[in-house]
Symmetry: C2
Subunit: 212 residues, 2 copies
DNA sequence: ACAGTTGTTGGCACCATCTGCCAACAACCG
DNA sequence: CGGTTGTTGGCAGATGGTGCCAACAACTGT
């Protein structure tokens, strides 16, 4: 008997849209990442980030329950891009071929200047332990999403072991190649950097199949 | 010109052996894990753990720079066991066959009662975000060790992309099957639980090869 | 036995992280 | 305009975590 969309005519201030929340988080995230890379994570206080972003410390902590989660809004972009491509994977095409064709990391989901930011955050996670932990947690959330897609494609529940192993392995391969491309892009991002990434992930998956 | 083992005759109190440090950490770890599972991580203060382990809060923080790292001494056991088996992998044998033959998780590295503890910690990481993050970081360190082994076997540096992808994927497959066996062992550990794990990881790797 | 040297421990002060609570305010309604 | 609901910021307070220092423990040579 719980109504779904049949609500009372609404009274009082409406809650802000999820989209606006997302943008606000993203804005804070950019400031935080800049500070993190300039002076290190440990040396950057929550107060400092809040001030840079123009909000009170209290609302900053409301947006990001932990300091390190500041990087999530930017980091999700690289993972979401991959999930989107996998979701669009036609059944009749080989996965490697589909990736090589359709996977242009970030180019769709992120603006040009954000690509720089995202890659620099990935690089940051390689030296800052706290950020790395946040990154790995994020990737595991994405692993679940991947399992959903793969499971549906294989006609099995996403909780199936077989499905989970595939999702985890694909995610791991993506992680390694993403780390690599971020390292390679340290001195400025070129189009061929990203194309290198596409090739990277394709060959990574191919290598995988020869392992056993 | 830096002497390696040719030191001055040593004066003053000798530093405690690494082995003793390890045991002390392990002891504290057991107390911490018990408290964590009894009342949750957030509700367990560092002071409480220190008191339970019979050390001052100050030395507790010296042993574990962050509260969550309390689980490392126990969690490494499950990862180390796998690394040891991979290290002992003869060149002429198929990896899957070797694992099915030689991999008896924990049975060698951990005492019987510790097996319970280790598996319960793995289960804990599935509900406690902070512990999960620590677990993932730990696994990534093990990934490096794995890459060393695989790299040497393939005649390439451990930093080689191909090597890293394989290490990451194997590690991921192990992660999923370890999570699964921990879940399955929720109601008491039996021998077949662990043998199930062995079979789990073997089939997991086989599945992997059919993905592409 | 004693002084000199080095490593470990615990206590204290201190800053940073993060939370609960509440008053102020903003955005909608009739 | 008053009523209602959601968001913000300030403040107090507990916990996490570090630097510093004095006390002590374990060794060496005389």
């Amino acid at each position: 008997m719980t109504d779904v969309a049949t609500e009372k005519p609404r009274r009082g201030r409406p809650p802000v849209s999820d989209e606006q929340r997302r943008l606000q988080r993203l804005d804070i995230s950019r400031h935080a990442v800049r500070l993190f890379s300039e002076q290190g994570v440990a040396a950057t206080s929550g107060e400092q980030i809040a001030q840079a972003a123009g909000v009170s410390e209290r609302t900053f902590w409301r947006h990001f329950p932990q300091k390190e989660s500041c990087v999530e809004p930017l980091l999700t972009k690289v993972v979401d891009a991959f999930c989107a491509v996998v979701r669009a994977w036609p059944r009749e095409v080989e996965l490697i071929d589909h990736l090589r064709e359709a996977y242009s990391p970030l180019e769709d989901t992120a603006s040009d200047e954000d690509i720089d930011a995202v890659l620099s955050v990935v690089r940051l996670t390689q030296s800052e332990r706290a950020l790395r932990a946040a990154y790995l947690m994020l990737r595991e959330r994405a692993e679940d999403a991947l399992a959903e897609v793969l499971g549906e494609r294989m006609g099995r529940p996403a909780s199936d072991i077989n499905v989970r192993v595939r999702a985890a392995s694909m995610s791991a391969a993506l992680k390694v190649s993403t780390d690599e491309v971020a390292r390679a892009a340290a001195g400025g991002v070129t189009t061929e950097t990203l194309e290198g990434h596409r090739e990277q992930i394709a060959t990574a998956l191919r290598d995988l199949s020869q392992m056993l």
